[in-house]
């Protein structure tokens, strides 16, 4: 049966019988455990500790941006090449975009009552597209399309 060897103190601890302050183990123990400025917020080598090499404490968290990949487009995650290509396509689409036509304000209550009455009159639950278009015309509701 294998016996378990249990040290009374870890390697480099000042209370060990073989303590040598100049040994690498003692220096490492001191680095990890001795804090001349007082209590630390995070242990030595913790990923969030300010003195841990490579910590990301100074990386800004910006909405829509992956902090590990700030080069990617915000909110979409596209690479710069993808983003440029998409922008070019969208620019073409934008040229064809039209301003939304202005509509004449109406009384929605009156409109809804008339719509229900029309459905009853025609004996349907909902007007067909043609019936609805005719109804809008009867009501004098302008239905301008984009670009008109």
């Amino acid at each position: 049966m294998t016996s378990i060897v249990e040290d009374d103190f870890p390697q480099g601890h000042p209370k060990r019988c073989d303590y040598d302050p100049s040994s690498p183990a003692a220096k490492e123990w001191a680095r990890v455990n001795i804090h001349p400025k007082g209590e630390r917020d995070y242990p030595v080598d913790h990923p969030k500790a300010v003195d841990t090499k490579g910590n990301q404490n100074a990386v800004a968290i910006v909405p829509g941006v992956d902090p590990n990949h700030p080069e990617l487009e915000a909110f979409t995650g596209r690479t710069p090449a993808q983003a440029a290509a998409a922008a070019a396509v969208l620019q073409q689409a934008a040229k064809a975009a039209k301003e939304t036509p202005v509509r004449k304000p109406i009384d929605a209550d009156r409109f809804q009552l008339a719509l229900k009455a029309k459905c009853v009159e025609l004996g349907v639950r909902e007007l067909s597209a043609d019936q609805y278009t005719n109804f809008l015309r009867e009501m004098g509701v302008d239905t301008p399309q984009a670009g008109e």
């Binding site: 975009a97 301003e99 036509p101 304000p105 929605a108 809804q112 719509l115």
Partner: protein
């Protein structure tokens, strides 16, 4: 006569450091519509979209003062509510019929900057929309459903790219009322607008800001709860082809995927005439 909400937007071209009076979007005006003056009209919110930081100033002799009035810093590329809104604990500025608001914006010297005001009318003569409050929604709401549309904005500073709410997916149940809780965008603009015959053909709107989706996704519901008033728009699917989604943005234009958060309502739960016309003047919305 009845309740109405209108999102009025405008733009300033190359304002730079000069506080430049906004040009209202086509067919819109910063003059408050004529209303019964005993009924409230409210500035529910205001937001702006600047590529370069600037200032948004709203003044009128009828408001606190016409010197600086309601003046707020607009941070760059962040379309957050600057005035009122659902996170303002429900206190808002009263507006006055026929008052011509002076809305000014400063920003970049080589860009088109834009801003939008969301105005609620408790009783607008000749115009009414269908709106419900939170208790009505809770009592009559059945199912959550989203309406996703793609809008290609125009680069002129006006509202543009209007598409019907069923333009991408036509999955609404026939002849059914739906409440619009709010919406989300994937791309930054100034304002997302929703216009329809059920809304009196006026445009309701919310900030077109992708980084505050938690705030815009139930924008109207939150406004309704903040101001304890019926500000949740309702439309009937019979009018889906006349319920239009569009976007107002800056000179860069853009393509926007908009998700509207809808709740299917029980049949007959929003009777005609129940749009909540105010019966008396109040110190705050009612």
């Amino acid at each position: 006569m009845g309740r109405a909400i209108e999102c009025v937007a405008g733009f300033a071209t190359n304002p730079g450091a000069t506080l430049t009076t906004l040009t209202a979007s086509t067919g819109q005006s910063f003059t408050i519509r004529g209303t019964d003056t005993t009924k409230g009209t409210w500035l529910l919110s205001a937001f702006a979209f600047n590529a370069t930081a600037g200032e948004l100033r709203i003044t009128s002799p009828r408001l606190h003062d016409q010197v600086q009035g309601i003046r707020n810093r607009v941070t760059a590329a962040s379309v957050f509510p600057l005035v009122g809104g659902p996170v303002n604990d429900g206190f808002t500025q009263r507006l006055y019929a026929q008052d011509n608001l002076t809305v000014q914006l400063s920003g970049g010297a080589g860009e088109l900057d834009c801003a939008a005001l969301l105005i609620a009318y408790e009783d607008l003569a000749g115009v009414s929309g269908r709106f419900i409050d939170q208790p009505t929604l809770v009592k009559n709401g059945l199912n959550v459903v989203t309406a996703e549309v793609t809008v290609v904005g125009v680069a002129t500073g006006n509202f543009g790219g209007g598409v019907a709410i069923n333009s991408s997916f036509d999955n609404l149940i026939a002849n059914t009322d739906y409440a619009i809780l709010g919406g989300m965008t994937d791309t930054r603009g100034c304002a997302v607008g929703v216009t329809g015959v059920d809304l009196g053909n006026l445009r309701v709107g919310f900030p077109c800001e992708p980084s505050i989706r938690f705030l815009t996704q139930n924008w109207f519901q939150a406004l309704s709860m903040a101001y304890t008033a019926p500000y949740i728009p309702v439309f009937n699917s019979a009018n889906k082809t006349q319920t239009i989604i569009d976007v107002e943005t800056n000179g860069a234009g853009g393509t926007y995927t908009i998700n509207l958060q809808l709740v299917q309502l029980a049949p007959g739960s929003v009777p005609t005439g129940a749009t909540g016309a105010a019966t008396a003047a109040a110190a705050q919305p009612a």
